[in-house]
């Protein structure tokens, strides 16, 4: 029945609250200086492309289905729209890729035939096929969170790479390398 012994706290314990506060402040500072990347990438990379069939966006061009892409040769699937400014920025790079013999197919999101025709006249037309995704369902099925986005699909229809945002001139070589990888 001895009275409870009060153990004396070690001397460093008095610095503990300050230390905790400084650690917290450092954490907040890091978070402020280096904000987290909020790009939502598709988690379908390495998985087969979901099956879809889109009607033609233009009267004189075939629409796009998943079967048109898995033809044994790698394809670029470009998700774009006439209302999208960065899509105009990447247009010369897409033309260059098409010129290099890369099959490019387009999915035009929430667009109209008139606006699309004008866009292609102004910015060039690298697309073999263009599917009209007017309600945005196929965009969601592919795990795409905006325009433009470009997918590298291999010959078996597996998604190998997703490029988020416009393809800038410095990205062309990398895209070609991804296509090369996908063809092996």
């Amino acid at each position: 029945m001895s009275p409870p012994v009060r153990t004396k706290a070690p001397a460093w314990a008095i610095w503990l609250p300050l230390g905790l506060f400084l650690a917290f402040a450092a954490l907040v500072t890091i978070g402020l200086l280096r904000p987290a990347d909020r790009t939502v990438a598709s988690t379908l990379i390495g998985k087969p492309m979901p099956a879809f069939a889109l009607p033609p966006a233009l009267p004189d061009r075939p629409g796009l289905g998943s079967a048109d892409i898995a033809t044994g040769k790698p394809h670029l699937v470009n998700i774009f729209a006439s209302w999208c400014i960065p899509c105009r920025v990447e247009a010369p790079q897409l033309r260059a890729l098409a010129g290099a013999g890369v099959p490019i197919v387009g999915i035009s999101v929430r667009d109209s035939t008139e606006a699309l025709t004008g866009f292609l006249k102004e910015n060039g037309d690298p697309y073999q096929r263009i599917g009209a995704d007017d309600d945005g369902k196929v965009q969601l099925a592919l795990g795409s969170s905006g325009v433009p986005e470009t997918y590298v699909i291999d010959g078996r229809g597996v998604i190998r790479y997703q490029h988020i945002g416009e393809i800038r001139p410095e990205h062309v070589a990398m895209i070609l390398a991804k296509l090369q990888e996908a063809s092996q």
Binding site: R38, V40, S42, T43, R110, S112, K137, S145
Partner: protein
């Protein structure tokens, strides 16, 4: 009296800025043609189910908002997707799963129990257990006194 012209020009300037801000951007995104982006389901019970799910799904474009709150076209597409699938009899959690499969956990505001997030769920239990242990010692000591 010398201050009045300055105040007037300031008013004019702020008015001009306010007007300038209301001019719509040149390139307007076409609104989605998805049927249920801005239309509720006819069955109130199903609409309620859809609404509850939409409030816990993140808009991919304006990421602080749920798709129920957001007016972004992609949120409209997502709302229609949710409503059409609910109308077809799909379970809300299956739809959430379908979206997570494509966009990762980030698309859902309702936290999922995964190998990465389990400590978040385990920690409160551990803390309560620890508190109970400490309190028991305290009470024992009190009794002994």
């Amino acid at each position: 009296m010398t201050r009045r012209p300055a105040a007037l020009s300031l008013t004019a300037l702020s008015l001009a800025m306010a007007l300038w801000l209301t001019v719509p951007a040149a390139a307007q995104e076409e609104q989605t043609t998805a049927p249920f982006a801005y239309r509720q389901l006819d069955d109130p019970a199903k609409e309620q189910q859809a609404q509850a799910l939409m409030e816990t799904l993140r808009c991919l474009q304006c990421q602080g908002q749920s798709i129920a709150d957001s007016d972004a076209p992609i949120a409209g597409s997502m709302r229609s997707l949710v409503r059409e699938r609910i109308a077809a009899g799909e379970q809300p959690e299956a739809i959430r799963g379908w979206l997570i499969e494509r966009y990762g956990d980030y698309v859902s505001y309702a936290p999922q129990l995964t190998s990465l997030t389990w400590p978040l769920f385990a920690l409160p239990v551990v803390l309560i257990g620890l508190a109970a242990l400490l309190l028991r010692k305290r009470f024992r000591r009190g009794e002994a006194r």
